[in-house]
Structures are given as structure tokens and as C-alpha cells.
């Protein structure tokens, strides 16, 4: 009997552990995914809520109304077509076609799901019809509109501007765009992909902008390679294939290779690093990570860590092959370098105001994480500044003492017929009074230095002028 009792105790302990694990898992999943479940497009309660509750107003950082509910309960958007379209993917639409839009993703605030018991009771007593919270976003309607205007005519792509001091998203523009008041038009041409927010949902090969990550890995893991030099012949054989450059760069130091965006040098470096070290740095910088940001959905970037072949590693190190990233992620990497190697969660919500006029607490961001050593980040900044002063990114340079650090990229994508290149520019202003990080992507735009860099310069200049 005694031994039986002892065994029972053991089993009960196991059962208790299972239950404890279950409660822990439950808390974890509710904490990290609960908000996403509510704001999911498949949630019938949002459509139901819209019938009963007056949806709150969405404004930009200056208070410009982007979306509101009129007297008859219809959802209305900004009266200016350009503004409407510039922020369309961020704000979303009434029918939830843009699944990541604020109108859907933050429906829990806009529809008052977050109202406390007391607020509900007071509403019931005073007889006011239920009304959701008003949401103020961090984006600037003016900057978004400017970006939409300046974006190369007829091209697709995305631009993200972050304030790397406050982590606020100042602009998040994706092209092509649609008019939320004319959804039939948008839905008739779904092929164009206007309903997709390319800034957060578009996965592109980052091309040479990924060299920031490779450089970070080299500086972190192999500091001896500072004085490394490599003779670029425009061709570097690895495995059965070769990594190529458009032209031979000749003898390259690490710094020169970064400045000139020399593929062969970085391919050679990747072989020194090995897939483990490079993979580790990439993952520290957010690749393969599930971004569970509280304010917005950002798709996972991917970096291959399966050690397929030396050639695969070589192409990965220059952001080609199977490496994929969103423009938002690249902007986050730029702001991480700007912050001395500390990675923050970007914010989209500036404030939430309840019907009673009170401020609702914003969802808490994840703790900032140090992903690179301060010295490494400083060295990368140095190199990124050189890219803009005397490298591939000279056309992103600003005047009036503003120093831009950046990296261009021309990511080759091949479909059946042609080899086109996505033009990238990732960078930031180093000055403290204009802490803007930017990520520009022009699909099939051509070379990053000649297409993306000038656009980045204009956008950064505009941001300074507006004084966000």
C-alpha cells in the first residue's frame, strides 16, 4: 500500500505539472496572440461589433482624421483622395480586405472591446450608444502623401520611415495603392496587389543591403579580418558555381568592399565566417524570428540556416538566394545600427483615447535587446557613412550638415524572361536632431544607388522640413 501511494503521488505530480504547463501555455499564447485573435479577419465578432458599436476615429500624428464613422454609422475616410490612398494599407478598409490595416488589426480598440466593466456600465446607465476608442497613429499623413508623389511613376514598392529614437513609424507607404471608398475598383484588380502592405508583408531578397548583416557578423566574430584585403576579379568561384560582380573592383579592403558593394569580397568573407556564425548574426538581427509586435503585423524574414552548400552561403551573404526580408525589417536593422546595436520594437499607436476622454494604456512593447556590440555598431555606422560620402550611395547625401549613413542594394530577381533588380536603400540620418531611419524598395527599379538612394534623400529631406 505504501509503495502504491508513493507511485500515485508521482503520477499526481506529473498530472499537476501538465496542468501547470497548460496554464503557462495558455497565459503565454493569450498574451502574445490574444490581440491578433481578436483582430483576425476571420473573427465574425468584428462585423457584428460594427453593427452595434460606433467605430472610433483614426487620426495621424498631427490629428488629421484618416478614418471616422459618420452620423449614419458608415465608415468614412479622409476626403482628400491623395491622402486616402497614401495611407490606405496602414488604415485598412471597412470590409477587412486589408487584414493588417488598423481598422481591422486594432478593431479591439476602435470597437471598444477593451472597454472596462465600469465604462460599459456607465455607458449603459447614461444611455449613450456604445462607441469605440479613438486611435492616433504615429504616421504622418503629409510625409506619406509626399512619398506617394515622389515614388517612381508606375513602379511598385514600399518606403518605411522610422524615428529611431522614439521607435515611431513616421511613414509606411506601399505602392500600388487603392481608394478605400471605392473597394470595387480595388477588388476588381486584385492582381495588382494594392491590398497588400508591401512594407510589412512584402518579402524581397535584400540584396546588398544584407551586407550590413554580413559586415556585423565579420566585425563581431572575426575582428582580425579588419585588415583583410581581397582581389576582386568580378568572379569568385565557390562550389560548382560562382558569385559575380558587374565589374572587377580590383584590390579591396573590407571597408572598400562595403563601400563599393563588392559581392566577391563578401562571398569570400562568408566562407571564412561559415554558415553558423553568419546565421547566428542574421537571427540575432531578426531573421527567422516571429515578430510579435503589438502594434502591427510584420511578416517573418527568412535566412537559410540549413547549410545547403558553400555556394548557397556565399549568395546568402550578399542577400541573394533564399534570403528574404520586408522593407520594415530592413528599416528596423538600420535603426538598430543607429541605436548602437540595440533593437527596439517599432510603434504605430501614438495614443488611444476613450469615449470619456481618458487615455488608454498602450500595449507594452517587448524589452529592447542588445543584438550587436556598441563598438561593432559604431564601426558599421562609420562604413555606412562612407557609402554615402564616397560609395554607391552618394545620391542619398543631404546638405546642411546632415550626415546620412546607408547602404544601397540591387537585388536581382529572375523570372522566366528577364533579370530585373529591386532597388534598395537602407539607412538613417546620424544627427540627433533628425533621428530618421529609412528603408526604400522599388520593385524592378534598377540600381539602388541611382533609383532608391535619391528617393531616400528626398524623403529624409522632407521629414526634416516637416520637422516630425
Amino acid at each position: 500500500m505504501r509503495v502504491i501511494r508513493r507511485r500515485i503521488r508521482l503520477l499526481v505530480m506529473m498530472l499537476l505539472c501538465m496542468f501547470a504547463l497548460m496554464i503557462a501555455y495558455f497565459c503565454y499564447s493569450v498574451y502574445f496572440y490574444g490581440g491578433r485573435w481578436v483582430s483576425n479577419v476571420h473573427n465574425p465578432r468584428i462585423a457584428d461589433g460594427k453593427q452595434k458599436v460606433i467605430m472610433g476615429t483614426v487620426t495621424d500624428r498631427d490629428g488629421t482624421v484618416l478614418a471616422y464613422t459618420d452620423e449614419v454609422g458608415e465608415r468614412q475616410y479622409n476626403s482628400n483622395l491623395q491622402t486616402r490612398m497614401a495611407v490606405c494599407q496602414v488604415v485598412g478598409d471597412d470590409g477587412g480586405k486589408v487584414s493588417t490595416g488598423v481598422d481591422t488589426f486594432h478593431a479591439q480598440y476602435l470597437l471598444g472591446f477593451k472597454a472596462s466593466v465600469f465604462e460599459r456600465i456607465s455607458d449603459a446607465i447614461t444611455g449613450t450608444p456604445q462607441r469605440g476608442d479613438d486611435v492616433q497613429l504615429t504616421i504622418s499623413e503629409r510625409l506619406s502623401r509626399y512619398i506617394s508623389e515622389q515614388f517612381p511613376e508606375g513602379k511598385r514598392g514600399a518606403v518605411v520611415v522610422l524615428n529611431y529614437k522614439t521607435q515611431e513609424i513616421l511613414a509606411m507607404v506601399s505602392l500600388p495603392q487603392f481608394d478605400p471608398t471605392d473597394m470595387d475598383d480595388a477588388l476588381s484588380d486584385e492582381e495588382a496587389g494594392a491590398l497588400v502592405n508591401r512594407a510589412t508583408q512584402g518579402l524581397y531578397p535584400p540584396g546588398s543591403t544584407f551586407k550590413i548583416v554580413t559586415l556585423a557578423s565579420v566585425l563581431t566574430n572575426l575582428p582580425d579580418l579588419e585588415d583583410f584585403s581581397f582581389d576582386c576579379t568580378g568572379y569568385y568561384a565557390v562550389g560548382n558555381y560562382a558569385v559575380t560582380d558587374a565589374s572587377a573592383h580590383g584590390m579591396q579592403t573590407l571597408s572598400q568592399a562595403f563601400r563599393n558593394s563588392c559581392n566577391t569580397t563578401f562571398a569570400a568573407l562568408s566562407q571564412e565566417l561559415g554558415y553558423e556564425m553568419l546565421g547566428e548574426t542574421a537571427q540575432r538581427l531578426g531573421f527567422n524570428q516571429n515578430f510579435l509586435f503589438k502594434d502591427l503585423i510584420v511578416y517573418n524574414s527568412s535566412y537559410p540556416i540549413d547549410n545547403l552548400s558553400a555556394e548557397d552561403l556565399a549568395w546568402s551573404s550578399v542577400g541573394q538566394g533564399r534570403v528574404l526580408a520586408t522593407p520594415m525589417h530592413m528599416a528596423i536593422i538600420a535603426s538598430t545600427i543607429a541605436n548602437g546595436g540595440v533593437m527596439y520594437e517599432p510603434r504605430l499607436l501614438k495614443s488611444i483615447t476613450t469615449v470619456q476622454g481618458g487615455e488608454r494604456a498602450l500595449p507594452r512593447a517587448q524589452e529592447p535587446q542588445r543584438v550587436l556590440a556598441q563598438s561593432v555598431a559604431e564601426r558599421i555606422e562609420e562604413e555606412m557613412v562612407r557609402v554615402v560620402t564616397s560609395g554607391t550611395g552618394t545620391r542619398a547625401a543631404l546638405s546642411n550638415g546632415y550626415v546620412v549613413a546607408g547602404k544601397t542594394g540591387s537585388a536581382e530577381v529572375s523570372d522566366d524572361k528577364s533579370v530585373a533588380a529591386h532597388a534598395w536603400f537602407v539607412g538613417y540620418i546620424t544627427n540627433d536632431n533628425a533621428p530618421y531611419a529609412i528603408s526604400v524598395l522599388v520593385e524592378n527599379g534598377g540600381s539602388g544607388g541611382s533609383v532608391a538612394a535619391p528617393l531616400a534623400r528626398k524623403v529624409l529631406q522632407k521629414a526634416i522640413n516637416i520637422g516630425l
Binding site: 501511494r5 499526481v12 496572440y33 490574444g34 476571420h42
Partner: protein, 499 residues
Amino acid sequence: MTGKRQVYTARAKQSGEETKPRKKREPQDSPARRTRGATRRAPEEKTEETALKRAQERRAAPAARRQKREREKAGTMARERKRVLVRSGGFGVMLIALLTAVFDALGLLLCAVRTEGVLDAQALTMIAVMAPLALLTTALLPRVAPVDPLLMALTNFLCGVSVVILYTVSPDRGVRQMVFYVAGLFVMLVMALVVSRLHRWHGLTLLAMVLGIGALILPLAFGEWNYGAKNWVSLPLIGSFQPSELVKLSLLLALAYYFGAHRTVLQMMPALLFAAACLGLLMLQRDLGTALIYYLTTLALFYVACGNMPLTALGLGGGVAAAVLGYQMFAHVKVRVAMWQNPWSDALDKGYQIIQALLAIGSGGLFGVGLGQGTPEKIPAYYNDFIFAVVCEQLGIVFGICLIAVYVLLVLRGIEVSMRSRRSFDLLLGCGVMMLLGVQTFMIVAGVIKMIPLTGVTMPFMSYGGSSLISCMAMMGMMHGISGRTREEMEEEILTARA
């Protein structure tokens, strides 16, 4: 005399806190207690024999001495009874009962006045049934029948939440659930009396086994496929029911009987064979969730009874192999696993149910949208398998976690009750019941929150359905019976010791 005796029994049925001081006192009271302690360590059958012998000796004692002893007994009993009256059920237990009654009453009252201008008489009637039942079964029942007050209070709470929640979403089901609950209480009482009184289990166990196999064949012969399983059967007079729920009782009886009295694996064979037969039939019914419960219960009791690690590991390995085989063989198992890994891949069809459950839980938030609010009926099978999601949507995640805690408390109390029993049969039966209920609760709740693949078993006491609720109540009856018998034996010991 019997009346007094029952009151005394009820007193002895108090929680462990009261047995402790008594234990301390006893050795001083009588040296006989110490010798009894020694015999207690001997094998179980012997204890029974000695108990019998002692009873005979007592009867043979001289009449005068017996009278004196009876007088003394009466005196102690009077004193004990006084204490019972002061601390009936214990404060905590009564608090739970009171909370349950208030919850039932308020929840149903809310339903009654839900539609403006119309008073729902049905809901008011239900208040009149549910609230007094919650109080009376906890406060009075333990005095007249072998019932453990804490277990009773927790059961009432779970059933009350179930009835109220079901009534808010689907009044018909709420009413029927209440009827099942009341019927379940009777079944529980009968089971408690049988388990506490019956001493020879051989015939009954055999009967239960035969009936069990027969019942499991029924759906295969007459049932119809639904939700990928063939586990329901409809019979004249009884109506449609799920035999696999009721056969759980047979399984527990068989396991406890053969594992309790016998020590070698060969002697345990009848129970193992019965369990294997059940598992086979359940596999044929494609009721894999229930099969898993049967399997885990059998394995747990096998380990507890014989402690044979290699054989237990072998059983575990066999189970894993069967699971892998099942995964390969049954398409719907593959779908379940795929939908567990990523339900969003087919959000509108195969993953719909689990996604709707998660959305409901998320929409409820920490404190819920409120009783009767929200749209839980969007979840397919919200009233049985997914009742946990409904509770979370309406009453909140915090309440959901409290509910899980109540189940844990129930299991702990059940284990405590069975740990105090003097016979290995009782011990194994109680442990089996609690393991079964615990595992089943874990499987369904973890399935609903997408921690493990969904297994499609019911949530004990909560899910809508007569078979499930009555089978759970019968299991609780077993627990009460065990607690009753243990009390009686303890009391006898004390009396003999005092004498």
C-alpha cells in the same frame, strides 16, 4: 442507533484537518491503537480478516461490559455530534457551495430578464432547482449519505457553470443539462451507496466487463458515422447515448478489482485483456480521443499497481507506436495534427473550428464580454467539446484559469480521499477515477487552446450531454463511496481503540 451512527459517519467525513488531532490523541488513549498500526502494515486481506475476528470477539464480550461500552460510545458520539453541528461542512466548503448557488441564481436571473418586458419563467424555475440543490447537496447530503462535502461542492460548481453557460447560449440545452445533472446526482448517490456498502466485487466486476464489451459493440452494430467517428447509438427507451462514456466505469472497476487484489501480471490479465478489447473496439469506432483516455488510465493504474517499470515503458512504447500507426492510417488524425500545427492554413474549412475557438477566447479578453454576450455559437460544437472557449469568451480568461484550478482542486481532493482508504481496491479505484478525469480535462482544454492536437473528448461536468455528465457523476459517486467506506473503517478503528 443507526441514525446516530450515520451522524457519526458524517462527522468522520470531515476534512483531514480533523483526523490529524485525533491521530495525535489516540496513542495516549489506548495502547491497542499501536498494535493495530502494526497489523495495518500487513497485506490487505489479512487486515480484513483481523477486522472480522475483532468484530466477533466484540460480540462475544460479556453483556455488562458491552452495555458500558455502548454508553461510553453514546457519550463520545454526542460530543462528536456537537462538533459536527458547529462546523458543518467546514467554512471553505460552505463558501464554495454558497458561491455556486449565488452564481447559478444570478446567472439564470440574468437570463430570465434578458429580453425586455418578458420574464423567462423557465429560467426562474431553474433557479429554484439549481440554487437549493447546490446548497443542500453540500450541507445536508453528507450527513445522511456517504458523500464528501468538498468533492460535492466542486462538482456542483462545475455543473452549475455548465448549466448557466449552456442556458445563455442555447436554453434548450441548458434545461436538458440540468435534467441530466439532477439524474446524475441520483446515479452518484446510488453509486456512492454501492461502493461504500459492497464488499464482494467479483460478480459485479464480471458483469460490468461483459456489459461494457456489449455496450461498445452497440454503436458499431447500430450506430452512424458522425464527425468521423461511430460512437453514438440510439436505443429504444434510453434514447441516443455514447456507450464509451459509460464503459469508463466498467474499465475503472475492472482495473481496480484485478489490479487491487492480485500482484502478478498474469493475475492482472483479465483487466488488461478487457482494456485491450475496449481499446480495439474504440479504434474501430474511430473514437481515438476516448481510446487515448482509456489507454492512459490503464497504463497509469498498471504502473501504480505493480510498479513494473520495464513493462510500463513497453506499454508506453506500444502506445506511441499505435499513435504513429493511427496517424498513418487515419486521414482525419493527420488533418487534426496539421490543423494543430497551423490552423490558419485552412482557416475557413478544416481549421475553422479551432480558429473560431481561439478568436472567441481572444475576444473575451481577461474578464470576458459578459454572461450571455458575445457570439460563441459561431464555434462548431461549442456546447460540448468547445465549451471551454465559450466560458472564456463570456466570463474571461481569468475565469477560465480559475476553472482549470477547480479541476486541479477536484483531482487533488479526490486523490486525498483515496489515499486515506484502507484497501487497495478503493485506492486504485479512486486514483483511477481521478487520473481519468484529470487526463480528460487536460486533453480537451489543451486541445481547445491549441497546445496539443484536438482530440474531441468531452470536458468533464461541463460539456453538454447526458452520457458524459452521468458517467462523470457516477465516477464522483465512486469517490464518495470510497470516502464513506474509509470513514466507516476509521470510525470503527477509533471505537475499537477507545473500547
